[in-house]
Symmetry: C2
Subunit: 725 residues, 2 copies
């Protein structure tokens, strides 16, 4: 289909056709609803008449059993770190009481189906303390963390790596370690819950209802990314977000007094949080319980519970020092700690009564999920339309034909900036993809990211799908990561100027490492933004992001390629996509194609035959226009010239050799690249006999046209260079 | 000199020899003190008997003259943006009253010598409002901003670019625009002042005494980097830092209510700041004055003055809306604004009485500097040792022979991690370079960055030279930028794990763009860090930073190269250097050299003759050892093999072609690169016939040796690949 003016394929803001018959069967666009995770045999609906899952919850463990359980957690951590001779025993030893109470008494989960949709989410933002999480997952009955896994802590190919990794260990919700990120991910998870609850819950059927818990340390609190996310969580009133601040007063360089003396609780209050202080996190179990209850009862604000603990609790000589933060205790101190805590067991011992007590979570988890499945079956009957949308979000199945929503363009279509063409895509996709949600870091009107048919996600309108991140790029990226891992069908996008990927690079890297489909909509992608000058002009960002593994860096040249870039971004569900988009208008080119983008690079014009042009011009984005015009001129002189749009290097590299050779025949060494960025890296495609035209310096403040002229990104310059080859 | 064990050249913590004679002449190591900027004829010492500079301060302008001055500022901004048809009029229109009061009545500066050491520093963190700063610099008599410059706002090669750029416009202290950075830079400037004051002031002679003022907007407040810096400023008690928060309630996407509802003043109080609220920033001149006085009187805490203003004040139809933030008003609205504010002048008009009033700053500034020069002359007589150190810091002249402090190594020197060898350099340099100061983001004991002979820079020990940044990488980078631009001889270094350059990339970019010599000490530079896993293992960072203009990315292989990297870093006073250093031990290699590092790449071993080896192995850092071992094996088989250490690509590229050809002869196409990072980019040096050995994926959690083995970074693999060429 070729449309001169952007038109959206779907008229109504619904991804599925309307339900047929009175409360009857939805004509789902979903391809294979039978494969939805919540429909598995193992988690069948609770037969009528059975007691509710809450009744299956074991009586709270007696105090001495709690103490045993807590010491089990402590020593699993101590022993695993000791065996690996590497790791962080201090946090697990200090936070074991909190960990026990939270996992055993509050957290709702099904250990045999870590992907159950309505589970509570738990994030260990202080990821170095991962042995706490592994010990808890093990006790709780997750198959992903067996005793053998605990013994293989931090070893090659184990499921218990040195920091929690969601792609290695089912039950780990997000990948943490880089401090502050997990906290911001938790804000994203809580946002997703609040949003989905607002969209799908009915007065008679609360189908989305879970909490997000996160443990943060002093380090997380110091990081700016956590502050950005905390400010937003307070603004949004994320009442079901509960953060535990492990206040142990020790970081790697010693007492936090040397660098961190702010009043954390007062700060969070200023950010609109409810705060609680548990002064004795080491043995004050009832205080921890009371705090969590109070937090759960606080519906209009997120809660920060400061839990004062002793790092390395129980270690007679190293507790409360930095020495227990990131090193094995050493065999002597391990023995001293065993003796001190009267834990005279062999390494990795789990007492039978502890095992027995924790085993109830398997039955309870199954019952929780079965109850929810029964509720969902009822929901589906009553609200078939909503159920279909929610199913798509839970499963990640894309509605069939969703990509028809993407507009194609012909050369007659009006020139436009790719940021505007991107807005067309965003608005079309949001209609057909129920999990499409996102926003900008205070640049919606420049990034062109507003979804016009939806309202804002706000405290009192959480059903809205436009997220207003404020000027908080790093928090935006990390929150988007949290949204992406909440449910396979949630597709977050987030936007700022391309140069400000520098502010959020740590979050982008975690999207890539965590196999998360986040779409980074990055406009103003070159000196073409003009007068704002070099602080705002990306020149090295394309390469810096092309270097990142498992990331697609796309720079579309026009409308077709912008649509194609979005198609690629949505289909690549296990990696992030970054779209570099122009501020300035670009023509709709003749040879571009929506589908060719998936190949990463392709010929858009050529007057040669036999795969042997005299010259190949390779360009991306806004410079493809320059390449095309230069090619036209050169062809007039009788040369055969091919123009290649290399819209995504990573995808091109993944093509078969034969295809690559058909686009860039190795025999043809006369090659020129044209890209408004550093030339560093282009040697890969232009080779040692070719030439790269680009900008090997920072930009400057001036009108865009003047900059292109002065910095040599012109048709004339391409022709001049071509003549030297 | 070859020393097996690291030794420092200087024994006492002083960069200059002790003064000779009773209060006599210092035997300075400085090369040319005569060229010190404060010794210029134009700023000669105040002759005895003359009135003090404060007496030259003109009487405060009468209220109607203030109003005229304020409107002059407003309309210079309006007119310049209108002429450029690009820019941000809203902030200057709203902040003109604050700008007038601050520059005319409080700021101490010498417009004819913007580099005068003891000037107050002013930073416009909300850099988009730069026309405010340009208008003020113009009125104040700076030669850098003439009327012609104002009329060339945002044009090619003008000194009035779209955001303030310190390298374009004398009088602009730091380059701002990316939000939040300028605020953190200001914290660095204030840190520098507090530190130098503590080191050099005497009870009878206060030779360092100036304030740092900064204007931040809502956007700056939302950014995590400003929060990190604010927390540190409160912790350090930077009493001479005064921040104005332009509270205008508008950001690009509209009212800040959509994303920013925290209680900013309460937050800053929690961070240990003094806070003041000026409720009427539009016309409340006396309130502004009182607030600044109160802030100056608050010695133990930094002060945040929230100044509530109306963005675009005076524009009848656009004030208090996002429309006036970042676009020209349009001729119609300009006229309406002129009429509304009764400013019936032509564009760019400066009334004579306003000119006359502001002209007093030229005499006053000269007198201020002359007074200070006289004071310094007295200081020099009494405290020659300190004066010599301070001169070096003010001028940036390096003491002669400073580089003798750097240790050289022989192959017999014990193997060591380059992070440890780096500590040796840091400790040696801090003794001979009086402006050497820095620290780590809570990893001092891992980054090995502690200066053992100095104490911590803290609230009550600001003379200390170890800065404890806490877990705040981004703030650390931006604060270091502020320190670097405070005085030419301040050489800040800052440290974290190499992978966390991702957290501070926006600050690193501003070091590069601002020509700032910041030394980024980045340890744990590869999968060689082992068990912490992929979240902590850099693989793409080398390339992502090699792509950044005006930045030196160095990866030394052993002790000599580490010393050489520091030599390069200190000598390159107009760009930042990033040192990637190993966690693991490395041998001292035979062919390495301190001085060769300045060439970026060089041959460290070769058994060929005639510049035509069979094979060239190119490696960096920890992989040079692997290359050397592989070369040894291959040579046993009769092949001629050269090993090249490519320690800094940027420096190598700057060498003459002849030199480059002598290291990497184009005739030799059998080339293998070995680097524990992505291979992307190595095509540049291995060419299309060579092979790059690296890691094109994220790392993994396992012991380092295992990772090198599993990921193919082994001598065996290099030999196997060599055999295929």
């Amino acid at each position: 289909m070729a449309a001169a003016a952007p038109t959206s394929a779907a008229a109504a803001p619904s991804p599925v056709s309307s339900c047929v018959g009175g409360g009857g069967v939805a004509r789902l666009l979903l391809r294979s609803p039978a494969r939805l995770p919540f429909a598995s045999a193992a988690t069948a609906a609770r037969p009528r008449g059975r007691p509710p899952a809450t009744a299956l919850r074991a009586a709270r463990a007696a105090p001495d059993l709690v103490e045993q359980s807590v010491n089990t957690i402590r020593f699993l951590a101590v022993d695993a770190v000791e065996k690996a001779q590497s790791g962080h025993p201090g946090l697990p030893m200090g936070c074991a009481p909190l960990g026990h109470v939270l996992f055993d008494e509050f957290l709702r989960f099904n250990p045999k189906n870590p992907a159950w949709f309505d589970r509570d989410r738990f994030v260990l933002s202080a990821g170095h303390g991962c042995m706490l999480q592994y010990a808890l997952l093990h006790l709780a009955g997750y198959d992903s963390v067996t005793m053998d896994d605990l013994k293989a802590f931090r070893q090659w190919r184990s499921r218990t790596p040195g920091h929690p990794e969601n792609f290695e260990t089912p039950g780990v919700e997000v990948t943490t370690g880089p401090l502050g990120q997990g906290f911001a991910n938790a804000v994203g998870l809580a946002l997703a819950e609040k949003h989905l609850a607002a969209r799908f819950n009915k007065t008679d059927l609360e189908i989305v209802d879970h909490y997000t818990y996160v443990i943060v340390g002093d380090g997380c609190q110091m990081e700016g990314v956590s502050h950005e996310a905390a400010s937003l969580a307070g603004h949004w009133g994320l009442g079901k977000l509960i953060a535990f601040y492990d206040d142990n007063h020790i970081s790697i360089d010693g007492d936090t007094d040397i660098a961190f003396t702010e009043d954390v609780l007062a700060r969070y209050e200023a950010l609109g949080w409810h705060t609680i202080w548990v002064q004795n996190g080491n043995t004050g179990y009832d205080d921890i319980r009371a705090a969590i209850k109070e937090a759960k009862g606080t519906k209009d604000k997120p809660t920060l519970i400061k839990v004062t603990t002793t790092i390395g609790f129980g270690s007679p000589n190293k507790a409360n020092t930095y020495k227990v933060h990131g090193s094995a205790l050493g065999s002597k101190e391990v023995e001293a700690t065993r003796s001190n805590l009267r834990w005279l067991h062999k390494p990795f011992h789990v007492p039978d009564e502890v095992k027995r007590h924790w085993s109830h979570h398997i039955a309870e988890g199954a019952a929780l999920e079965a109850e929810w499945n029964a509720k969902f079956a009822e929901y589906e009957k009553k609200y078939c339309q909503e159920a279909a949308e929610l199913k798509s979000i839970i499963s990640g199945e894309l509605p069939s034909g969703w990509d028809n929503a993407l507009t194609t363009y012909s050369p007659e279509s009006p020139p436009d900036a790719t940021r505007n063409l991107s807005q067309q895509c965003l608005n079309s996709l949001a209609i057909v993809l129920p999990g499409f949600i996102g926003g900008s870091a205070d640049l919606a009107s420049s990034n062109m990211t507003l979804l016009k048919m939806f309202g804002d996600f706000q405290r009192d309108s959480p059903e809205g799908r436009n997220i207003r991140f404020g000027v908080r790029e790093h928090g935006m990226g990390a929150i988007s990561n949290g949204i992406a891992v909440h449910s396979p069908g949630l597709i977050p996008y987030c936007a700022t100027f391309f140069v400000f990927t520098d502010y959020m690079r740590a979050a982008i890297r975690l999207s890539a490492l965590s196999d998360s489909r986040v779409i980074f909509v990055m406009t103003h992608d070159s000196i073409g933004l003009g007068e704002d000058g070099p602080t705002h002009q990306p020149v090295e960002q394309l390469f810096s992001l092309r270097a990142m593994p498992n990331t697609l860096m796309l720079r579309p040249a026009d409308g077709n390629e912008t649509s194609g870039a979005y198609k690629v971004a949505v289909l690549n569900s296990k990696r992030p996509s970054i779209l570099a988009l122009s501020r300035q208008k670009l023509p709709q080119l003749k040879g571009t194609s929506v589908d060719a983008v998936s190949k990463g690079g392709y010929t858009i014009s050529d007057n040669s035959s036999g795969n042997k042009p005299d010259l190949i011009l390779i360009a991306t984005g806004s410079e493809v226009e320059i390449a095309e015009k230069a090619a036209d001129e050169l062809r007039k002189d009788g040369r055969t010239v091919r123009v290649v749009s290399l819209v995504c290097w990573e995808l091109f590299e993944e093509q078969p050799e034969k295809y690559k050779e058909s686009v860039l025949p190795s025999e043809v060494t006369s090659r020129i690249s044209i890209e408004a960025g550093v030339t560093f890296g282009w040697e890969k495609y232009v080779g040692q006999k070719g030439r790269a035209i680009g900008i090997d310096r920072f930009g400057a403040s001036a009108p865009a046209g003047k900059l292109y002229q002065e910095l040599g990104l012109t048709v004339e310059n391409v022709i001049a260079v071509a003549k030297t080859l």
